[in-house]
């Protein structure tokens, strides 16, 4: 099952069969799972914590084993830039924008420094 990905129907088939459907099935399932669940149900506290932790896992993956251009930045640089962003976040009374700008300045700075 291979084909030319740059044109024709194969990229669409691949995208829908191996990307969209395996992902969408969970979103669809969650509608039925959330049926009858009250907004204030105690179980939702745990569900929300698991959701947050899963996102932390995604972040950790991007920090520890990144793809593409980010892999050109050493691990210490990636973790350091994240730390810079967090310091800016707390220093500005929890501004998301300040965190993003500070971390971006740090990672791009490290990129030019090591490059």
């Amino acid at each position: 099952m291979t084909g030319d990905l740059s044109h024709g129907t194969w990229p669409w088939v691949a995208l829908i069969l191996f990307g969209f459907l395996p992902s969408e099935i969970w979103r669809t399932l969650s509608i039925f799972l959330s049926r009858g669940v009250d907004e204030n149900a105690p179980i939702l506290g745990w569900v929300r914590a698991v959701a947050t932790a899963l996102l932390a896992g995604v972040v950790a993956k991007l920090l520890l084993s990144p793809n593409g251009a980010l892999a050109a930045i050493p691990l210490a640089g990636r973790v350091g830039a994240m730390a810079v962003g967090l310091v800016a976040f707390w220093a500005t009374r929890r501004s998301v924008l300040a965190a993003v700008l500070a971390a971006e300045a740090a990672i791009v700075g490290v990129g030019y420094w090591v490059g």
């Binding site: 992902s23 745990w46 932790a53 995604v58 950790a60 251009a69 980010l70 050109a72 994240m82």
Partner: protein
């Protein structure tokens, strides 16, 4: 809302520039790269998909990886949908809403919906989602067109938008210790679960372990305050 939601929309759009670039590197056309944003609607899943295709991974393995990374939409949707649903909400609306759930939309909604009267929650959610869809559709295409033109440090900066934005938004949305504890414990145990859990299942293991630990700590804190 227009002013309040612009920042997150711009950040998520900028982070999708990198996805467009990855799609081109994997051999996908501009149209299918843009379609991946509309269909998958999850930056990390798109990055996984295109990097796996570029590495010539077997298609069933790609499907499994994507599916495992998207299990996280179950807790996200189950936490969010009951906040927006009214008695008149039909299944089609819920299907559309569930499709719109991704980290930016989720985190902003979890943060802002409680302050909005129930009848206005769904409109806020879809309004914000549509803004994000428009912004990211454009940026995926631009990223696809621009890849290779950007120097490596700037390209790295684009890919770094996702992790820093995730962390800052989740901390911003945190109300109780459980919220930032789940994040902190998740980050700390990531190297352990990556080493110990079977390939592909590490994220799931991390979510359940860190989420449960954070919930238990919160419960202990609550008991102590009550006593």
């Amino acid at each position: 809302m227009r002013v309040a939601a612009c920042g997150p929309m711009l950040i998520v759009s900028a982070s999708l520039l990198g996805v467009g670039g990855m799609a081109r590197a994997a051999g996908f056309s501009l149209e299918s790269a843009v379609a991946s944003t509309l269909l998958l609607w999850a930056g990390p899943a798109q990055l996984l998909f295109f990097s796996a295709v570029a590495a010539k991974t077997a298609w069933p393995a790609i499907a499994l990886t994507i599916s495992l990374s998207s299990v996280r939409f179950v807790p996200m949707c189950v936490a969010l949908l009951p906040m927006m649903r009214t008695k008149r909400t039909n299944t089609l609306t819920l299907l559309l809403a569930a499709h719109c759930v991704a980290v930016t939309v989720w985190a902003e909604s979890m943060r802002r919906l409680p302050a909005i009267p129930r009848g206005g929650r769904m409109p806020f959610f879809f309004g914000f989602s549509v803004m994000c869809f428009i912004g990211t559709t454009i940026s995926t295409g631009v990223g696809h067109a621009l890849v290779g033109e950007l120097p490596t440090p700037l390209a790295a900066g684009l890919l770094f938008l996702t992790p820093i934005y995730f962390v800052a938004t989740l901390l911003r949305a945190a109300k109780k210790p459980v919220d930032w504890l789940a994040l902190l414990i998740g980050l700390l145990i990531a190297p352990v679960t990556q080493a110990l859990a079977p390939e592909g299942f590490d994220l799931l293991a991390l979510g359940v372990v860190a989420g449960t630990a954070a919930t238990l700590i919160q419960r202990a804190l609550d008991t102590r305050t009550a006593a």
